[in-house]
Amino acid sequence: MALIETKELTKIYELGWKKRVVGLNRVNLQIEEGEIFGILGPNGSGKTTCLKLLLGVLFPTSGEALIMGKGPLDVEMKKNVGFLPENPYYYDYLTGPELLKFYGRLFDLAPETIRKRTGELLELVGLNDAKRLALRHYSKGMLERIGLAASLINDPKILVLDEPTTGLDPIGCKETRDLLLRLNQEGKTILLSSHFLSEVERVCSRIAIFHRGNLIELGTLKDLLVQYEASTLEDLFVKSIEKFDQQHPA
């Protein structure tokens, strides 16, 4: 059984009378344990929509989203998941450690566990010096970093990250990349979306390309490069989008 699965997952945003936007159109995905799976796609292609559907923030118009065989509202399932939303924003009056403590308590973690992990995670994301700073004084990249730490507070089996390196400096990007690879070696399954092709190239075992709400390509980077006779991921990205647009004119 796939660890993360979508079956004909569809989301149509109803924006009032006769106005609707297709967010996601009949997407079938299967992500196996131990993968680092990357979702690529132009702006507005449905990446965030797909991740939100998996976490139960949005409800599907039709189809199914499953993690560990469970629907998005299953509380037990969520104990095994860490989520970093796009452009994360947190309670701005809290400090980093307070934020991690709040989330840790929602996972029913023991106070010692929370304290220990908070120390480790702040170190890990390089926010040790900002311990006493309220989050409203954080920079964009710092918020991204604390968000990553927060998504790891429960030592999850599954990590869902929406553009985890947007806003990070080059060193932060590299550190995050290394971190993801290490977490993956420790056995975590990672699903991420990204606009940074080089990052996806380096960490992802398989990729999916979304366009206009459709899943247009899916596979290992190697296979897809061969299939499109492309030399780089960028080349592949552009070609796959063009091909889809030719076949499905708006």
Partner: protein, 254 residues
């Protein structure tokens, strides 16, 4: 249960640090304090005045805190998108709604107790020991504040802030006038109007039920039975409001 408490604490924590509610609190304290400056009154009249003004101030400023607190508790999570992360944690949506309400209870309790403390202090300063009737009146005001809070919280799960504020204040005013409305209805001949009026009268909470201060100020005792009945009346509305809030929030996409 524990998750509800964790969310409640976080909500409480937030409001302590945000300080917007402090302004309302300070206004309330100022108004109560000002009531003692009517020195042209006789001592007896002055005491009545202090009680009258204080009850009204506690109720009114309490209502402001209840409405703006409950509104912010839900809508700030959605506006600032903190809700995405929160809902990805192992909580259900009813944990969220109930947790937010419990948080509001804590906030109201603290603000209410501060106002009451100031009021009682003022009475003691005027050498008047508050009797049990005064505490009955305060207690019913607190239940009324919880009710106001629960209604705004329920509305916040499915309406916009602007509508919520307008509707909450509208209810607050109408809820104080239902007895007058009742009299009007009884006089009308129009059956449709009468039916509509009767329906409104049944649905809209009658906030005047909680206002026993007029009696207390002039020294007319209120029975415990009445207090008990009114508390149950309030609790029923609160439970219904919270259930509606949970139901609507479960359907809501954030």
């Amino acid at each position: 249960m524990k998750k509800i408490w964790v969310i409640a604490q976080n909500t409480f924590h937030e409001s302590l640090r945000k300080r917007t509610l402090y302004i309302v609190l300070v206004f309330g304290l100022v108004v109560i304090g000002a009531s003692k400056f009517f020195s042209f009154l006789t001592a007896q009249e002055e005491l009545k005045m202090i009680q009258d003004v204080s009850f009204s101030a506690i109720e009114f400023f309490g209502a402001l805190i209840a409405i703006f607190g409950a509104l912010g508790a839900i809508s700030s999570e959605i506006e600032k998108r903190t809700i995405y992360t929160l809902l990805s944690k192992p909580i259900t949506r009813y944990h969220f709604v109930i947790g937010k309400f419990v948080g509001q209870i804590l906030i109201l309790l603290v603000n209410f107790l501060l106002l009451c403390l100031f009021f009682v202090g003022l009475l003691l300063f005027k050498k008047s020991v508050p009797n049990i009737e005064i505490f009955k009146a305060l207690f019913l005001i607190f239940v009324e504040l919880l009710l106001i809070s629960s209604i705004t919280l329920a509305l916040a799960t499915f309406t916009s802030d602007a509508f919520n504020i307008i509707f909450s204040f509208f209810l607050y005013i109408v809820g104080h006038l239902t007895s007058y409305g009742r009299q009007l209805i009884e006089r009308t001949e129009n059956i449709i109007l009468k039916g509509l009026g009767d329906m409104l009268y049944t649905i809209v909470p009658n906030y005047e039920n909680f206002a026993i201060r007029d009696k207390v100020v002039v020294g007319v005792p209120v029975s415990w039975q009445y207090v008990g009945k009114t508390v149950s009346y309030g609790l029923i509305y609160i439970v219904i409001a919270i259930l509606i809030g949970i139901y609507c929030f479960q359907k809501r996409e954030v």
